[in-house]
């Protein structure tokens, strides 16, 4: 037992069991879901769907960065290629929306396996550079390939009928479909983070050599989380293609990779709810400042710099510190 009068320092002791945190998270999820169910009757559904898609995209990215400790600077590759494949499948092959999304997501997964296997051999900034290089390859491919429509992208993608029956044409119908996908994706991410796999992942993030010395083959875990992250980013991208009925070069451009980094950092990386809050902030901002044309990027950049300087842990990170609870 402990010798001397020492006890655990105050304020940094957390409960041995994580059930308290889990209950809090469940409550937040429930409230957010209730809000999301009511929201389309008060706010513009397409705007909401954009928030949802980016919330999923950023959460997928955060799974890799915040819990795997891997900074990818090329996540547009998975988001964008899934978007293209889904759009093509729905428009040219006439697949139903759920199949188009499934196919797009699958394409991102395959890409994730290939790029991930090559990228995880590098560490730190080199990892970021390799992922960026792969993403640029995908961008140039999209620019040249015949089926992507070059500068125009793939336009007027049909939203189609869910399972061939329910028309997703009306925004409100599509909204609930998108909500179901995103909630499913977010719950899956939550489970991944709070699984035996997630524990090993956090250990590798915190101290890779130590995890290896305990017998964990770190690269396999890193590849696994990379593929999961790429796949879920693809799910977001494919869904987005149906929402906007468009897949374009913007989705695979490096600025899209940057945007997801921004959303995640602003909201709070390594937190469950940070990417969701970050997506809401950034998408709102883009909407609000849309009239400023090219200045949107400048304004967004400025807010980002100020945000990161003032709250390094992101909005939710700060909140978590105040509440002394993992969020």
């Amino acid at each position: 037992m402990v010798t001397g009068p020492e006890t655990a320092p105050a304020g940094i002791s957390v409960p041995v069991t994580a059930t308290g945190a889990a209950r809090l998270h469940l409550a937040i999820f429930a409230v957010a879901l209730a809000l999301a169910l009511a929201a389309p009757f008060f706010l513009y559904p397409v705007f909401l769907m954009k928030v949802l898609c980016f919330a999923l995209f950023a959460s997928a990215f955060n799974l890799l960065l915040g819990y795997g400790g891997l900074l990818s600077f090329g996540h547009a590759a998975y988001f964008g290629s899934a978007s293209y494949v889904a759009a093509h499948a729905a428009k040219v092959w006439g697949l139903t929306p759920e199949l188009a999304i499934l196919l797009g997501t699958g394409a991102a997964a395959v890409l994730g396996v290939v790029f991930g296997a090559l990228a995880i051999r590098r560490q730190g900034i080199y990892f970021a550079m390799v992922t960026l290089a792969f993403a640029q390859m995908v961008y140039f491919f999209s620019l040249q390939a015949p089926f992507t429509g070059g500068e125009d992208g793939i336009q007027s993608v049909p939203r189609g009928r869910l399972f061939g029956m329910i028309s997703l044409g009306p925004d409100i119908n599509l909204y609930f479909f998108v909500l179901a996908i995103v909630v499913g994706g977010l719950l899956l991410i939550y489970r991944i983070i709070h699984s035996p796999f997630g524990q090993v992942l956090k250990a590798i993030r915190d101290n890779e050599p130590r995890a290896v010395s305990l017998g964990y083959r770190a690269n396999r875990y890193k590849l696994a989380v990379f593929v999961m992250s790429a796949t879920l980013a693809g799910l977001a991208g494919a869904t987005k293609a149906l929402v906007f009925q468009l897949a374009s070069l913007t989705d695979v451009y490096w600025t899209m990779s940057g945007e997801v980094v921004l959303i995640t950092l602003l909201g709070g990386m390594g937190t469950v709810f940070g990417p969701i809050v970050g997506a809401a902030i950034v998408v709102t901002m883009q909407n609000y400042f849309a009239g400023f044309g090219a200045w949107v990027t400048v304004i967004q950049g400025t807010i980002f710099v100020i945000g990161v300087l003032l709250f390094r842990e992101g909005v939710v990170g700060i909140l978590a510190r105040w509440l002394r609870r993992p969020l």
């Binding site: 001397g4 035996p196 524990q199 090993v200 915190d206 290896v212």
Partner: protein, 264 residues
């Protein structure tokens, strides 16, 4: 994958035999030879100390033996098996586990979670991302017992980063012990610890050494003298002397190396 496997016929190891054998172990860093043709044999179930002045190559040796570094030349045999080219994680799975000179904990996890990560190895790989981590709570009791053993019982829920340095070292030892390794390589396990902690960890090491083999780097010579059966002295990457404490402490070359290093 299980850590414990039946020993292969012919590879039978009994008390008194060498469990870890390195031959001609050499590592160069762009021309600079940090470890230079080291021959090392560690007897099974002994406590073997590796000492030497700063920069002698002790940590580099550890890195080579545990496969965290690629040797330039030489061979390593552990428990009758050539591990010279094996992956570091697989060496750990054979039951040879190391600690690090700079305290190696998982800072953003609680002390309990730190130990549990090691216990979790008992279920093999943990790729089950679909299962709740509540399944890990069955390791809590064992983790708490291990924390108690190193005096950290009251810190179970504390994030590892918030522990004082000596406590981090203790946590690292508890984590290593959780694997119940056949062989432990401890790199300065007591550096930065208060005297009372040194006592406790010394006793702990002596206790866990029963039925296990320990190779440790340690600068605290009173600890070395009281704990170790055999001492190997390393200087400038080479083995200078080997023997028990009495022999080593009377060796002219050893005295010279230490004094020489102090005056360098």
């Amino acid at each position: 994958m299980t850590d414990r496997r039946p020993r292969a016929a012919g590879g039978e190891v009994s008390i008194g035999q060498d469990v870890l054998v390195a031959r001609g172990l050499t590592r160069e860093f762009s021309g600079f030879v940090a470890v230079d043709g080291v021959d090392l044999s560690v007897r099974k179930e002994s406590i073997h100390a590796l000492i030497g002045p700063n920069g002698a190559g002790k940590t580099t040796c550890f890195n080579l033996l545990t496969r965290f570094l690629e040797p330039t030349r030489g061979s390593i045999v552990y428990d009758g098996r050539d591990i010279t080219r094996m992956a570091a994680a697989d060496v750990a799975r054979l039951g040879m586990v190391r600690s690090f000179q700079i305290s190696a904990v998982f800072p953003n996890m609680t002390a309990l979670e730190n130990v549990r990560i090691a216990l979790q190895r008992g279920r093999g790989d943990s790729f089950d991302f679909w299962r709740s981590d509540r399944v890990l709570s069955r390791y809590n009791d064992r983790a708490l017992a291990l924390l108690d053993e190193v005096g950290l019982g009251a810190f179970a829920g504390t994030a590892a980063w918030a522990l004082p340095y000596g406590r981090k070292r203790a946590l690292e030892i508890a984590t290593t012990l959780a694997l119940e390794p056949q062989m432990l390589l401890l790199d300065e396990p007591m550096a930065g610890m208060a005297q009372e902690d040194i006592e406790r960890i010394s006793q702990l090491i002596r206790r866990i050494a029963r039925g296990r083999t320990i190779l440790m780097v340690e600068h605290n010579l009173s600890v070395v003298s009281s704990l170790s059966d055999t001492i190997t002295v390393l200087a400038r990457g080479k083995v200078l002397a080997e023997g028990d404490y009495d022999a080593i402490s009377r060796d002219e070359r050893v005295i010279e190396a230490y004094i020489g290093a102090a005056h360098a």
